[in-house]
Symmetry: C2
Subunit: 153 residues, 2 copies
Amino acid sequence: MLRLSKKADYALLAMRHLAAHADRGAMPARELAESYDIPAELLAKVLQKLVRAKLLDSHQGIRGGYGLSRPAASISVADVIQAIDGPLTVTACSDLDHSCDQYAKCNIRDPLWRIKDRIVSALAATSVAELATDMAAIPPPTGITVPVSVVRK
Amino acid sequence: MLRLSKKADYALLAMRHLAAHADRGAMPARELAESYDIPAELLAKVLQKLVRAKLLDSHQGIRGGYGLSRPAASISVADVIQAIDGPLTVTACSDLDHSCDQYAKCNIRDPLWRIKDRIVSALAATSVAELATDMAAIPPPTGITVPVSVVRK
DNA sequence: CTTAAAATGGACTCGTTCGGTCGGATATCC
DNA sequence: GGATATCCGACCGAACGAGTCCATTTTAAG
């Protein structure tokens, strides 16, 4: 299914929200959670991970909260997902981790890794800023949508 | 983490194997399972799904087994994965299925769906035949260029 | 200085899903 | 008719993800 985790969803939602309301100061987790009906405690954990990944700045205390650590345009969807779920892997094994019963006899590793790289590219090509502005496509110059063409930046 | 299921792995392994040995006749599940140390019963179920998805032909009886239903070049990795895990979705919700607590307030749906389409394209761009020949890059079909470099390491 | 509002962090529960198993039915060839 | 296959549904157990609870620390406000 290749579905992304709910935590990653929440992270993207939050990042988008913070990007859209960057003008206002720090935004508390509570407020974020209420905006999207997300369990506050859980969102808090997600936000903490984003802080540790340097994507957010936090500031505690009575009027504390979270804010983007850098311009939304410089943060990609891939950054956010990897901050939450760790390095993005399509296969159980990776360059480093050979822990898979079939590793020795596996012959589809390389092509799958290439596919993984293309997925990462797709995720890296969309920035949080684009999530915020959204509202329908940035139309791909050529008419057709098929290939993974990345023209941006 | 966007990892694909083990069943999907097994399916791809099997498809590749069948593509590589298409010359020989029907290949029993048992033989396939032993080749890759996959639990036979489990692989059997995977193969059955592939049959139902019309990607394989099966033939029971004493010299029965499985074989590709059409040329390996015409079967994509996306076909195989979707046959096993169902329609590929990155988000909990889809065009049809709005079952997600945040659906109403969700504002990242559209961009994520676009990303999903690009992932599907990436999976659709690789055929089972390419898995079988593999051994480093197959130059992308004429015209379209794969944008982001896959060169690494 | 006190207090309240916030982030931080760990440990824990709970439910679902996934990987895997079992048993039996059906088809085909010798 | 028997051996070897696919086929199919039901089942189980462990792992993982989502969510909860609680205790601590930090910081601004009053």
